[in-house]
């Protein structure tokens, strides 16, 4: 009963505090919208890249039809190279004409390669342009609407779109900040103000008191994830692929891990003035190193070595794999184990450092 009442009270306090509301919910969305628009949508405004391959007569016709358009960049080359270009993001659409010259009056085989993930952007524009051009050529050259027999082949692009990469990172980052600060600052404040002393005078067992604090933050973490995912789906066309069960387990364990870290920070911090600095010193470098906004593949190997073991790295990768990476709970076992180990370490260290009384001893009265 104490647990339930404490959980209710903790959740209430976080939702009633405007300051913490901002940090829990508005701040991550600001990040996502800023990064999403600056980096994610930027690609859509560039030129349309069309690759042409195969029979030179027909490629020349297409080039003549589309080459005059300012926004269109045309590349001619080998089929394989161009199709790989779709995977690398160099080409939006590749058109390949059968190089065996067709008999006059016979249809010409055409294959169009495209990325279905780009249909809403430049890829869709490019495909529409190509279809239009082929239609025009058919009428103009032969007077035959059915000159081309078109086969369309989708090219599965493995790489995540930037916003799909970003969204789980934003969730991981928010969970870290909220749980770390949402536990450390209140704990130190309550200790200094003597609220912890009031609690100590009751019969509630310490683990129950702390578990309820932790559970309150887990509730916040799930609310954050829900809101960020909803915004991602509605405004950024993020496609969820994976296991929501897996993501929930990651969220639960991740919030527990960050809460335990927050309790450790509260134990280390002597006064309320130092708690935010200590928490920031831990959270800020971790935010960048853990691949929140971009992968750190290009960093030097020693830095990547550090990054690979960080708590947030496992939270981010666990969320990414289960939300947009198509993986299931079983696939992310290593990340779950790493988080469990960190959680155990943090809880152990925090329980050694936990104090009910402020550092400055009151011996007055």
């Amino acid at each position: 009963m104490a647990f339930i009442e404490l959980l209710k009270a903790n959740t209430r306090m976080h939702l009633r505090n405007r300051n913490s509301l901002f940090w829990h919910f508005a701040f991550p969305l600001v990040f996502m919208v800023l990064f999403g628009f600056i980096i994610g949508q930027g690609g859509g405004q560039g030129p349309v890249n069309i690759g042409l391959s195969g029979d030179p007569t027909w490629t020349q016709h297409v080039e003549t039809a589309l080459g005059g358009i300012e926004e269109v960049d045309i590349t001619k080359g080998e089929q394989d190279v161009l199709v790989n270009g779709i995977r690398d993001g160099d080409q939006h659409v590749v058109v390949v004409f059968d190089s065996q010259a067709a008999e006059p009056g016979q249809p010409v085989q055409v294959e169009i390669f495209f990325d279905p993930g780009e249909e809403m952007g430049a890829g869709g524009v490019a495909r529409t342009m190509v279809m239009g051009a082929l239609d025009g050529i058919a009428k103009q050259v032969q007077g035959l609407p059915e000159l081309f027999v078109i086969e369309q082949t989708s090219v599965a692009v493995e790489e995540l779109s930037f916003i799909s990469f970003l969204m789980p990172g934003i969730i991981g980052m928010s969970v870290m900040f909220s749980c770390l600060f949402g536990v450390a600052s209140p704990l130190v404040t309550e200790r200094e103000k003597g609220i912890l002393r009031q609690v100590k005078l009751t019969t509630v067992p310490t683990p129950v008191f702390l578990a309820a604090k932790s559970a309150g933050m887990t509730v916040i973490a799930f609310l954050q994830a829900f809101i960020i995912i909803a915004v991602g789906i509605m405004f950024f066309d993020v496609e969820i692929s994976g296991s929501l069960l897996g993501a929930s387990v990651v969220l639960f364990l991740g919030s527990l891990m960050m809460v335990a870290l927050g309790m450790l920070v509260a134990g280390i911090a002597g006064r309320v003035e130092s708690v935010d600095s200590i928490a920031n010193m831990i959270a800020m470098p971790m935010m960048f190193l853990a691949g929140t906004f971009f992968p750190i593949d290009s960093a030097p190997s020693w830095l990547r070595g550090i990054a690979e073991v960080l708590p947030l790295t496992h939270l981010n990768s666990g969320l990414r794999d289960t939300l947009v990476g198509g993986q299931t709970l079983g696939d992310i076992t290593p990340a779950l184990i790493a988080m469990a180990v960190w959680t155990a370490v943090f809880i152990g260290a925090a329980s050694v450092r936990f104090r009910w009384e402020p550092q400055k001893k009151s011996n007055g009265g």
Binding site: A2, L6, A9, M13, R197, Q198, T203, G364, G365
Partner: protein, 327 residues
Amino acid sequence: MTSNTVDSASTRNQADSHGGSSMVSVRSLGKNYGSLRAVDDVSFEVARGEIFGFLGPNGAGKTTCLEMMEGLRKPDAGTITISGIPVWPDPAKVKRLIGVQTQSTAFYEELTVQEVLRLFGALHGRRLSKRVLEDLLDLSGLAEKRKAYTLALSGGQKQRLAIAIALVNEPELVFLDEPTTGLDPQARRRTWEVVKELRDRGKTIILTSHYMEEAEYLCDRLAIIDYGKIIAMDTPVRLVGQLGRKARINFTASRPIEGVSLGLAGSDVGAPNSEGEQTLLAENLDDAIAVLLRTANDEDIEIKNLQVRTANLEDVFLTLTGKELRD
């Protein structure tokens, strides 16, 4: 304790001699902070239903005494039992018997008064019934503030909420640590009424104060404490009575009057304060006035602003320690 014979008429004020009815029994309590003896060989008994007060200046050891009884601070020496149960080494055993109002009156700011009360009830493993909640709100005079955030309460309301929190587990013994410090006179009166109401309900109360009027008004018995030691313990009336016809005489003299020149046994004249006012603590009011005026006349000293006040606890403290209760 030797005798357990219960003399019903005298249990209230004679707790020392009737251990069987004691709510609290403290023996040779001691606590050191480094070389400082914060609490030094303190012993006393508190009877059931009694309001027992610790009176002393800041830093005298009142709060330390209380914290050891509450199970918050481990004593270096001595024993404490509450209702026959030793507080140490396992303070958890007495938690359900006691309610504590600590000196700090900070609460969870984003919770309302009734939410805080419910929460603390739950922390004690109790679901507060509507009746209990209403009673606590009425008792503490916070019924109208039940839905106010604790952040918005006045100082007096916060103190009374702290008392209400101390009562959520329906304790037999209530500790109030300086319940009215920092309050204006009106808010202080209001808090006193709450304490009286608690006494009428049969609660045993131990409080600390450095307000003499408060101790005099509320307490059945008082321990005057200074430098960690109990220097006097009795009812307020008897403590003052010990001073006999003692009185405090304040005056302004045109030339400072030396105490010796008065030739009054047991009386003492302090040096003039910054406003030139002198205080004479007299053993016998009538003699002192006569001698003072004769001396002034003989030595051609003009006496002004003559004020006479019979002794109170402040003077008891001054007599016992040679210093004022509030510096």
